[in-house]
């Protein structure tokens, strides 16, 4: 339309919209004028006034119809109509508050749960990382002969960098736990040593200052740091002049050269709840004993060249790896190199669970839709007379369909709005209580995408369940509806619809509840696993020594003093120090070379978890000694090297033999022999659902760590002892940082946080499904029964027993419910397979779970139909017969 055109028409549209009454009055007056003129004309030709008026009207046709057609030309009608529909719809909803409330709540639950889960998926899985061309970012892994991926070594990293043509560069990363030293205290930071190229490779633009220089990636030249945004804010108050200032880390002063932007995700830390604080150049020390070719403790990150594909790069890296294996046959062994896109590496673990949750919550929405559709149908049926009346009075079908659609949209919008609110609350709660170890969880927010998603579902839902009643209303047989008040005429069809809804409800709920049951059972099984130690009544604290105190002898002496003082505290039963805590997230492993059983290439010998402990540790953790002796005060740095091995290791290397007295080397193939003095029980290290590993314990006098965990077994609540244990340590040395104070129960609990998260959400969705299904079936049946009050009255009056009527109604519900259960069982049988990866020690077709869910749902269906059925049969037949 041309602007010129608008000039004429816009005022008219505005007038039609805003001065509707005036416009309407004009219209009436105009037509009235016409009719009067016409009548006068006929009167002039001799007709009586009455006859003339009638003739004029007859010739005109329907005055109201003509008016309606005039209104249609105004072009703003839809707005008026919408307002009208909405007002009418709201009035209808207000008149049936129970219906409106149930429908809106049902929708809100479905939409809210979906929106919340979608937000999480969007934030965690879908949203791109804040790196340019993030698809080019890869993590590189050595592929072991059993196909598992592991870190790489310095020598390989250097060769990879030199030999490849696929990458813009490869950066290496290792852990760093510096201690920031204040005047009276000290704190351990989460840090990383990174190749100087790391931030450039990621494509990060620093918030302040500059990147590391290649010259700083050299031993002795490396006392520079880049701070994370959060650490900069927290510790330096966001000091804008931070670049160039120094920070005291241990005994060294480091110069701050830069600050990372706020949106730089901590891609390097394993525990999403402990983001990195600080970075320093790798400046690798090639003189260290662990600089060997198979000492795999570096993680490698790379960026593909423009145009290079993953498969090409992987093929090239495999070739390079094979050549290296050929070149260093005794020092290196690998099956190749695995490339994993950075994003998969970050979220790979939680992907399956999140998608499974979305699927499950999608079923919740389906159930919600089924129920609301059903509510709407019942509502529409109740309004059949109203509809018939309106149709008889000349309302057009299209108009009525539009009215129904508006009403269902109104419902879904209200439900959607409430659902959005629920989702917002749910996500906030999730972030607050940190139920799960989800990477990027703090990223999750209800954003435009989520809003669009919610809006989309509301819209689709509204359309889906609004169309059916609308369609039914439009094809209504008027005379019959008016005559019979819609009681028995469409009864058959409605009955089958009711059955279909019961069927769908039961089938969907069964599917969901089975999944929930399996997840719960799996989680319970997981918690029942014996970790090999007793987590109750145990407090753990991490101590990190730094500077001269971290040398072996002073460290051992310091730990002894700590143990003495803590042991003397009232309420402490036993206490010990260990280099890494089981289930604590550390993976400290060393190759073990058993005397006489080493492989041709000793690099292929298996690795064992290594624990350096003080004598009291086994008692503090209640790890059982199966054979031989524990360590004691006689195991010192100068005494013969000794070790304890776990049952799995004993079994693997010395089946049927006594391992005590046997010897092995650890790490270095030419190192000193260690003699086995005892066997202890297996401890689960990586996770409650992980297989048992081979494990070695060494006295901390013979293998000393500067960063250790203090385990304290108490007779009372361990958490209440934290303060006094800390103050004992501070009395000895206030500048030894104490971190990660937690009870062992908490450590175990955190290790299964994601499984708990999955199980709880599945359970929540299952519970919602169960409630919705119960309410749904109850609603359908009570409505159906109410419709049949008349019929029931007749039956009772004719002498049918109440029990017969009762069982008739209940069995009519039970039939579709059973059918739904059967179909649901089949679907569950087919679909729970997808959960296999998430289940621990439970088959996806676990018969007890299937049986329990089946019984539960049949019980619910029985109950939900029994109550309304019973109520109906208690009605006085005379009242029932008169029931309209």
């Amino acid at each position: 339309m041309s602007p010129k055109h608008w000039f004429y028409t816009f005022p008219l549209r505005l007038r039609s919209l805003l001065k509707r009454n005036q416009v309407e009055q004009d219209l009436s007056e105009e037509l009235q004028f016409h009719l009067e003129q016409k009548s006068q004309q006929y009167m002039a030709s001799g007709l009586s006034a009455e006859e003339a008026r009638r003739k004029a009207r007859r010739e005109f046709g329907g005055v109201e119809l003509s008016k309606e057609n005039c209104r249609d030309t105004r072009g703003v009608n839809y707005i008026h109509d919408l307002v009208q529909y909405l007002a009418f719809g709201l009035r209808m909803l207000r008149n049936s508050p129970a219906f409106a409330l149930v429908a809106i709540l049902t929708l809100a639950l479905g939409i809210g749960a979906n929106t919340a889960i979608f937000s999480v998926i969007h934030g965690v899985l879908l949203q791109p990382l804040p790196f340019p061309k993030q698809d080019q970012l890869m993590t590189l892994w050595e592929k072991d002969n059993d196909g598992r991926r592991s870190n790489t070594s310095w020598a390989n990293f250097m060769d990879w960098n030199k030999l490849n043509h696929s990458f813009d560069g490869i950066a290496a990363v290792s852990f760093w736990s510096p201690t920031i030293v204040g005047a009276h205290d000290a704190e351990t930071l989460v840090g990383f040593r990174v190749s100087s190229t790391f931030f450039d490779l990621m494509g990060v633009k620093l918030e302040r200052g500059r990147n590391f220089l290649a010259s700083e990636d050299v031993r002795g030249n490396n006392f520079v740091v880049v701070l994370s945004y959060g650490f900069w804010q927290r510790t330096f108050g966001g000091d804008p002049g931070i670049a160039g200032k120094t920070v005291q880390l241990g005994t060294r002063a480091y110069t701050v050269v830069g600050v990372l932007p706020a949106d730089f995700p901590s891609v390097l830390s394993f525990d999403p709840r402990k983001p990195a604080d600080i970075y320093t150049p790798l400046a690798y020390d090639e003189t260290l004993p662990y600089a060997c070719r198979d000492c795999r403790h570096l993680r490698a990150f790379a960026r593909l060249k423009n145009g290079a594909s993953i498969t090409q790069a992987e093929a090239e890296m495999n070739q390079i790896s094979a050549n290296l294996v050929r070149e260093y046959p005794t020092a290196y062994s690998a099956a190749g190199v695995t490339l994993t896109p950075l994003k998969d590496y970050l979220v790979g673990d939680v992907k399956t669970a999140l998608w499974a949750l979305l699927a499950s919550v999608g079923f919740v929405l389906l159930i919600a839709c089924v129920n609301v559709a059903n509510l709407l149908l019942a509502w529409a049926a109740r309004r059949q007379r109203e509809v018939a009346l309106r149709a008889a009075l000349g309302a057009r079908r299209a108009r009525m369909v539009r009215q129904f659609l508006t009403e269902s949209f109104l419902l879904s919008f209200l439900g959607g709005a409430l659902g959005l609110f629920l989702a917002w609350g749910g996500v906030a709660l999730l972030q607050r209580i940190r139920l799960a170890n989800l990477p990027r969880l703090q990223n999750v927010q209800i954003d435009t995408w989520t809003f669009a998603f919610t809006f989309g579902i509301s819209l689709v839902t509204g359309l889906a369940f609004g169309l059916l009643p609308a369609f039914r209303a439009s094809k209504l047989d008027l005379s019959e509806a008016l005559k019979e008040s819609g009681k028995s005429s469409a009864g058959k069809e409605r009955h089958s619809l009711r059955s279909a809804l019961v069927f769908a409800d039961v089938a969907l709920a069964l599917l969901l509840l089975t999944a929930a049951g399996l997840m719960m059972k799996s989680f319970v099984r997981l918690l029942e696993v014996n970790p090999g130690f007793d987590p109750s009544h145990t407090l753990t604290l991490t101590l990190s020594l730094w500077g001269p105190k971290s040398a072996d002898a002073p460290a051992v002496a310091f730990f002894d003093r700590v143990l003495q003082r803590v042991q003397a505290l009232p309420g402490v039963e036993s206490t010990g120090v260990v280099s890494q805590l089981p289930l604590g997230g550390n993976l400290d492993m060393y190759g073990v070379h058993v005397e006489g059983k080493s492989l041709a290439n000793p690099e292929e010998d298996p690795s064992a978890d290594r624990y350096s402990i003080t004598p009291g540790y086994l008692r503090a953790m209640r790890i059982s000694l199966l054979r031989g002796r524990e360590f004691d005060e006689s195991d010192v740095v100068t005494s013969p090297m000794v070790a304890l091995v776990n049952e799995s290791m004993a079994h693997q290397f010395w089946p049927g033999e006594d391992p005590v007295g046997k010897r092995f080397r650890m790490g270095d193939t030419k190192g000193p022999w260690k003699t086995v003095v005892g066997v202890v029980g297996d401890v689960l290290h990586k996770g409650l659902d992980a297989p048992h590993t081979i494990q070695v314990y060494l006295p901390n006098t013979q293998f000393t760590d500067a960063m250790v965990v203090l385990a304290v077994r108490t007779s009372n609540d361990p958490a209440s002892m934290a303060g006094s244990v800390r103050s004992e340590i501070a009395t000895i040395d206030p500048q030894v940082p104490v971190s990660e104070v937690a009870t062992m129960d908490e450590v175990v609990s955190v290790s299964v946080a994601n499984q708990r998260f999955g199980a709880l959400l599945f359970l929540l969705f299952g519970a919602i499904a169960l409630v919705l299904t119960t309410v749904g079936i109850y609603g359908v049946i009570s409505y159906g029964v109410a419709q049949r009050t008349h019929e029931i009255g007749i039956r009772l009056a004719l002498g049918a027993g109440r029990r017969e009527v009762l069982s008739m109604i209940v069995s009519e519900t039970l039939k579709p419910a059973l059918l739904g259960a059967a179909v649901g069982l089949f679907a569950a049988f087919a679909l729970t397979r997808l959960l296999t990866r998430l289940l621990y020690n439970v088959k996806p077709t676990d018969p007890p779970v299937f049986a329990a869910v089946l019984l539960l749902l049949i019980g619910v269906a029985l109950l939900a139909s029994y109550i309304p059925a019973r109520r109906a049969t208690l009605v006085d037949p005379m009242v029932a017969l008169r029931y309209e």
Binding site: F33, N69, D72
Partner: protein, 111 residues
């Protein structure tokens, strides 16, 4: 809705525009004029006349004004706008072309 079935769609618009091009008129007068000029050949029911007029008004081709009639009754008088004059020219031209084409076809001699 009773459409003037013998009228080609859109022709009623042309007729109304043409009638109003001569002088402003109220609806009743237009209905009389239609009958009079077409000699009862074109049957436009009164009921469908008004929606057609309102449509032209909403398009901006004609405009309406309440004025007293000769007998001093208030009536809604329609008159052509500048936009409507352009539309009239366009539609007349269209009509001429269409009718010429149709009469040519009708005049074709059977071989």
């Amino acid at each position: 809705m009773s459409k003037p079935s013998d009228l080609v769609q859109g022709t009623l618009d042309l007729l109304l525009l043409k009638i109003l091009a001569l002088e402003p008129m109220n609806g009743y007068a237009i209905s009389l004029r239609l009958k009079q000029v077409s000699g009862d050949v074109l049957q436009v029911s009164d009921g469908s006349l008004y929606p057609a007029l309102h449509k032209l008004e909403q398009e901006g081709w004609i405009t309406a004004e309440w004025k007293p009639t000769e007998n001093n009754r208030r009536a809604k008088f329609y008159s052509l706008t500048r936009l409507g004059r352009g539309q009239l020219e366009k539609e007349s031209a269209n009509w001429s072309r269409l009718s010429a084409a149709i009469s040519n076809i009708v005049k074709l001699k059977e071989a």
